[in-house]
């Protein structure tokens, strides 16, 4: 049995302008200790995918499909049942550490409440455990700092606190939604490094949401590339980096600055904008931005399995 098995997950939002199809039917699985990256531009549906799993969609959002966690369907649970898993089996780290911690409570209160609620620890035990965790994410002087308020921490330190908070109950899955995007470049590297280290030390599976393929390599085994609410490519890190099949994945890779390639110093952005999710075009949704588009792209390509288990949703795959 897979740790997490997501089948045909769709997410849509009711807006004054009509239905927005943020995620239209995606599948993926996660094994214990796995590290999966979900990559795509903003608006590709990657964040809404995990929000749906956590039951954290905005009020105007609806999700359907299945998400089997250890054989139980998260999508069929009400908030009360979901609360037995949230924070303890599945934890989440958010993009903006500045606003994701409660500014009115000190760190101690925010950390211990998780342990006291899910594991019935006494306040003292919970505090000790929280201090341990802060030490593990290398916050200096954790006994003192735990009593401070979020605004007394720098952005990087706050994200460390978020990571520590996520790992308090030793979850099976840690979902990290763009954990480094809001941070300075040097701090970004520290946080990625921290997560890679923590991953080696525990059996926690990681789902990393990012738009930056550069962050993925050091941390993840497998990559899921999303575009306009669909999976367009899936494979191991090696497959995605060394033989990307979808022109969108290639475009994303080209837009990562490469320090090792002295010959090519130019940066390539993908031209154009993601499609309007209110009315998706017929055929391949990437067609209008794709330099390799041809007649067949008027038809919607299927997700095709290639050699080594790699998947790609592109007509080019069949042509070669």
């Amino acid at each position: 049995m897979n740790l997490l098995d997501v089948k045909n997950l769709t997410v849509s939002f009711d807006t004054p302008d009509g239905q927005v199809h943020a995620v239209s039917g995606i599948d993926f699985t996660l094994e214990e200790g796995d590290a999966l990256a979900i990559v795509g531009e903003s608006g590709s549906g990657k964040t809404q995918t995990v929000m749906a799993l956590m039951g954290l969609l905005a009020e105007n959002g609806t999700a359907s499909g299945n998400a089997w966690f250890r054989g139980e369907d998260l999508m069929a649970m009400d908030a009360q049942e979901l609360n037995r898993h949230r924070g303890t089996d599945i934890a989440m780290i958010f993009q903006d550490p500045m606003t994701s911690l409660n500014p009115y409570l000190n760190i101690e209160k925010q950390m211990t409440e998780v342990l006291m609620h899910h594991q019935d620890l006494s306040h003292r035990e919970a505090t000790e455990h929280a201090i341990e965790m802060l030490r593990a994410v290398r916050i200096p002087d954790p006994e003192q700092r735990i009593r401070q308020y979020p605004h007394e921490f720098s952005g990087g330190m706050r994200q460390r606190v978020m990571v520590a908070m996520g790992l308090l109950c030793e979850p099976d899955i840690l979902i990290a939604d763009e954990p480094t995007t809001a941070l300075d470049v040097t701090v970004q590297a520290q946080i990625s490094q921290l997560m890679a280290e923590l991953r080696r030390q525990s059996r926690t599976a990681i789902v990393l949401i990012t738009h930056d393929l550069g962050v993925v390599a050091g941390l993840c085994d497998r990559v899921l590339v999303m575009y306009a609410g669909e999976v367009v490519e899936y494979g191991t890190v090696e497959q995605i980096y060394y033989s990307p099949q979808h022109p969108y994945t290639q475009g994303l890779l080209d837009s990562v600055p490469r320090l090792d390639d002295v010959e090519d110093q130019s940066l390539h952005a993908i031209p154009g904008n993601p499609p309007n999710l209110l009315s998706l075009p017929k055929g391949c949704s990437f067609r209008s931005r794709c330099s390799k588009a041809f007649d067949a792209c008027r038809e919607k390509p299927a997700l095709t399995e290639l050699e080594g288990g790699q998947l790609a949703r592109c007509h080019l795959v069949n042509r070669s």
């Binding site: 939002f13 807006t15 004054p16 302008d17 927005v20 943020a22 903003s42 608006g43 964040t47 809404q48 904008n273 993601p274 499609p275 309007n276 999710l277 209110l278």
Partner: protein
């Protein structure tokens, strides 16, 4: 969440659509329009004069046969025509005093916001200080000291009510002033006052509209409050507040003298508040 590119629609159009969807606001706007119309032309259509005393019908209840649809007061004056004429004064005070506060507030706020720096700090500090004063008591004090007359009511209410407007306008100006088109205008050497007049003021329109609609009922309320205390408009002129005051005196024997002006006043305030709320939601759809 980004939606990708959606077909172009001006923010004004967007706001207009949202406003039309707000049924309470649209309904209120219709009632309000009807109210204004009735108050303006009503008194001409009714055969009674506001100060005519019908000695055959004193304190009679609403009835079609006497011709006094809303009844009469203790001296036989027609409540309907008095209510409508009182409405003229109440609405007039509402609009004019709001205009006074609008002019002062927008001028003050946009100057403070646009010049920034020390000018801004001093000007806003003054606003803070005045803000902490018990405004209603000042109006009363003004009425006591200078005697009651309607011009003074306009000025007194308007002059104390501009503070909110000044604060809002200043905040908006501050955020607008750094936007690109103002910088572009500045780079082209357009004078500061010209920039305020041509670029900033039009952009403030939305917020100002909201505050105007919310200030009008406040002002009407203040005026009726003063009139109720006997410090507002004087006989033979009347306003809803003064009529409610009269009505409250004989409400046991003639409740209609209280109820009709009270309903007109309340409905007006209710509608203005709903329109203002609707406008705010439409122009700034933060948490719907």
């Amino acid at each position: 969440m980004e939606l990708g590119d959606i077909r172009g629609r001006s923010p004004w159009e967007d706001a207009w659509h949202r406003l039309l969807k707000n049924r309470a606001a649209v309904f209120s706007a219709f009632i309000m329009a009807a109210m204004i119309l009735v108050v303006i032309i009503g008194p001409w259509l009714i055969s009674w004069e506001a100060d005519f005393t019908d000695w055959d019908n004193t304190s009679t209840g609403p009835s079609l046969s006497t011709g006094h649809w809303f009844g009469t007061d203790a001296v036989g004056r027609d409540i309907l025509v008095r209510t409508l004429e009182g409405g003229r004064i109440s609405l007039l005070v509402g609009f004019v005093a709001t205009l006074v506060s609008l002019v002062i507030g927008v001028t003050y706020g946009s100057i403070a916001g646009f010049y920034g720096g020390i000018t801004d700090r001093v000007m806003m500090r003054i606003v803070d200080i005045i803000y902490a004063l018990p405004f209603m008591f000042f109006v009363i004090l003004l009425m006591v000291v200078f005697g009651r007359n309607i011009i003074l009511i306009f000025v007194a209410i308007g002059a104390v009510n501009w503070l909110d407007m000044a604060r809002i306008v200043r905040g908006q100006t501050l955020s607008l002033k750094n936007t690109e088109f103002v910088e572009a205008a500045q780079a082209c050497g357009v004078g500061r006052l010209d920039i305020i007049r041509r670029h900033i003021v039009p952009n403030l329109l939305g917020v100002v509209m909201v505050y105007v609609t919310l200030t009008i009922p406040q002002v009407i309320l203040v005026e009726s409050f003063l009139s109720f205390l006997g410090l507002g408009v004087q006989e033979p002129m009347s306003s809803w507040g003064a009529l409610v005051n009269d009505g409250a005196q004989d409400m046991e024997s003639a409740p209609w003298t209280l109820i009709f002006p009270a309903v007109f006043l309340t409905v007006t305030l209710y509608c203005f508040n709903y329109i203002g709320d609707g406008l705010r939601d439409a122009l700034d759809p933060k948490d719907r």
